[in-house]
Symmetry: C2
Subunit: 436 residues, 2 copies
């Protein structure tokens, strides 16, 4: 049995961003057949699954991972990803088998006018950034395990190039630009770690990075940007001023805007954390990730759920910037009029791309105060022996908080992966003390 629609070649694919309704012949079961050769971006947000659809099988060559569909604006869980070999023949054969087994309707491709588009994060991202990014180590500590009453695994993204996980997304974004786009450079406005990461990735590609930084950013973060060759342009602290300044640079230079979180290339890049982490410690049943703009947790959640759909994804958020917690409670993106936390990397708000993923794939947001963050930071230095910034230590703070330890919901979370997201912190007071 050979279906003629299989004759579509990969060349006929022209993008993941199209959206469409199911074909009129739509039935309860659907088989999606991917011809995606190598989407530049690596992720597109999933669109609505009509209520008539019961389940979806997706045939993907094994290098792809991370599927995300929505129904009624919620994550659609009844999806089965079936791996095939990369060869077109294998994909076709596998799809045919599913059709025979399930009686599903075939959705052959992404550009024939009747398909469900979906989110896909792929291994090409991992391959793309591999020559540049560090595979960061995972540390464990019996001392912290006994404090937490659980086995903890620490993914040390503070050791990532540029001192934070941000390099993964920045690197993916920059190396997925075509040469014409890349020549004019990139621009962003960032509180720091994304800025440093983008500067470094741009330097590696040999293109300019224009970085708009609010005047009140920590000195060490500005220094990082300069160290990596970024062109620093200061703005006022307000988001309006930051955006206006960035727009002016865009107009002046023709550079490409690379947002820090709300961007498919960024989300896909950060998702490589899960790929490494769950290979390094496959027994992990729960991931705890700092949340700010939601780029990291979106990528981490998509990739982790693709590998292990039963995995718990928890966000850790500071009390003084708890927009994600409020957004989840309100069922819509909720922004704050002001933020106040020592965790300077966690002051951004969710965006329209990250919000649906956080809403549907993040099981809970654990809110901690600054005192808990500092205590966790201290444990990182004194027990783990690593230098983390406040934003980086918040995952450990969440695991040690009453909100987590005393909640019976989490009693089954026994193997917890914590992303220590960054280590760019100003320790001037420490060095001054040695001069005495």
């Amino acid at each position: 049995m050979r279906n003629p629609v299989f004759n579509l070649s990969p060349d006929s694919f022209d993008g993941l961003s199209e959206t469409n309704s199911l074909p009129p012949r739509g039935m309860g079961k659907v088989c999606v057949y991917s011809t995606i050769p190598d989407p530049t971006c690596g992720i597109t947000l999933g669109m609505e699954v009509p209520s008539s659809v019961e389940s979806i099988s997706v045939i993907l060559a094994t290098e792809y991972w991370g599927i995300f569909l929505l129904r009624d604006r919620k994550f659609f869980p009844a999806i089965k990803v079936i791996s095939s070999e990369t060869l077109m023949q294998s994909r076709e054969d596998t799809a045919n088998k599913v059709l025979q087994d399930t009686g599903a309707v075939l959705i052959p491709s992404f550009n024939d006018g009747h398909f469900i588009s979906f989110a896909i994060v792929n291994f090409h991202t991992q391959v793309r950034i591999k020559p540049f990014a560090q595979q960061t180590p995972v540390l464990t500590s019996d001392t912290l395990d006994s404090i937490a009453g659980r086995k903890l695994y620490f993914k040390c993204e503070c050791f990532q190039k540029g001192g934070a996980f941000k390099f993964r997304g920045a690197c993916n974004a920059i190396f997925s630009l075509d040469d014409d786009q890349a020549t004019k450079g990139v621009v962003t406005h960032s509180s720091g770690n994304h800025a440093a990461a983008l500067s470094l990735a741009a330097k590696l590609r040999g293109i300019p990075a224009y970085i708009v930084i609010p005047k009140d950013a920590p000195k060490c973060k500005v220094a990082n940007v300069k160290r990596y060759g970024g062109h620093v342009i200061f703005s006022e602290p307000s988001m309006q001023s930051r955006e206006d300044t960035a727009n002016k640079v865009l107009q002046d230079t023709g550079a490409v805007l690379i947002p820090s979180s709300n961007d498919g290339r960024i989300i896909s890049g950060q998702g490589t954390i899960s790929l490494e982490f769950l290979e390094q410690a496959s027994e992990i049943d729960t991931l705890i990730v700092p949340i700010s703009g939601g780029g990291m947790i979106s990528g981490v959640a998509l990739a982790a759920k693709a590998i292990n759909p039963a995995i718990h994804i928890l966000a850790a958020e500071p009390m003084g910037a708890n927009d994600a917690f409020q957004s989840k409670s309100n069922g819509r993106i909720t922004k704050l009029s002001e933020v106040n936390t020592i965790a300077d990397g966690l002051r951004a708000f969710l965006g329209d791309l990250t919000w649906p993923i956080v809403r549907d794939l993040v099981d809970d947001v654990i809110v901690v105060d600054d005192k808990e963050i500092i205590q966790a930071m201290k444990l990182c230095y004194e027990v783990l022996k690593i230098a983390v910034e406040p934003s980086g230590a918040i995952g450990l703070a969440a695991v040690l908080s009453d909100g987590f330890l005393k909640n019976p919901v989490y009693s089954e979370c026994n193997h917890i992966g914590i992303v220590l997201s960054g280590g760019n912190v100003d320790l001037g007071v420490l060095w001054n003390s040695f001069d005495k």
Copy 2:
């Protein structure tokens, strides 16, 4: 051709510590045939090679490594280690081949009254400590590479159990005790890291550890000992008081003394650093190791030279406690009347076991001052993002010192492995600053 002396069984071996002269039939070339089944200690210092001996071939089953012989109290370099399979037959066949090829005299075993004893550090140590010790990660940094003008590899022993490399030796020592010895516990006098490590290893074996600590030791080190269940007994700061107090504990308890450096079990345990490091980064051509009592650098040098005889071994030592530098210059163990350095872990002196190894296998001692140590520590925190103690950062200080960078001897050292030995440092001033 089968030599009857091969009929000695492994059971006839009764210890590595015997010493003897060459047999009367001694000739210029010697073939040593090892029947060592599993020396508990893993290392015995080599004894004199008579002047009549030109070269020595040693047949060892592949699980052994680290050969060390002396002539005129100097390392005897004309030694060739030939690996065989573990099976006795293979060792015999290999030895026979050497005899045929070289016309050497055979020294069949270690207990027949006429042999050369030698130092041997073995893989059994690695197997013994593996269930307990961390395989610490190796970090790299483009930023530090460009400062140093070389490729640097950082072995993060600050992530070792107990916060320092000391756990390797302590663990080897404690788990090589037989049950009768072990029951009565262990005792040591230590400035801190060895004490914590010994406490932890003793706890893992379920035996008591009695720790004599000078009153002026940093608080965090005392806290570590207590955290790991060690019984703390304070002494005066002087070495005499420390030794007297330890001797009293020995008499009272019948415990086994485990010195911090000058001990074969300790040296062998620390040697596992090289085994891991050179497997993680085989391109390393130079190792830089902090030196204090010399236990770590002895083990590191023996193991590294066994793997790659051409490797450079450099010691890093603080100006205010430069006894190893002076000892090398004077050609004899030289102790200092007082020491003064921020590197509190590097105040001990070489011992009679570590000195010959340092004298003959350590190519040079690079001396740095406290200011250079603090600067290196800062780079570890701000660039590598790891919390090291002053003693732990000294290897980086040495690589960045004029004494190293401007010495043409080191121009060929391009892939440098630096052991960041520990991370137990009091950061109270940092945490106090957050309370403001």
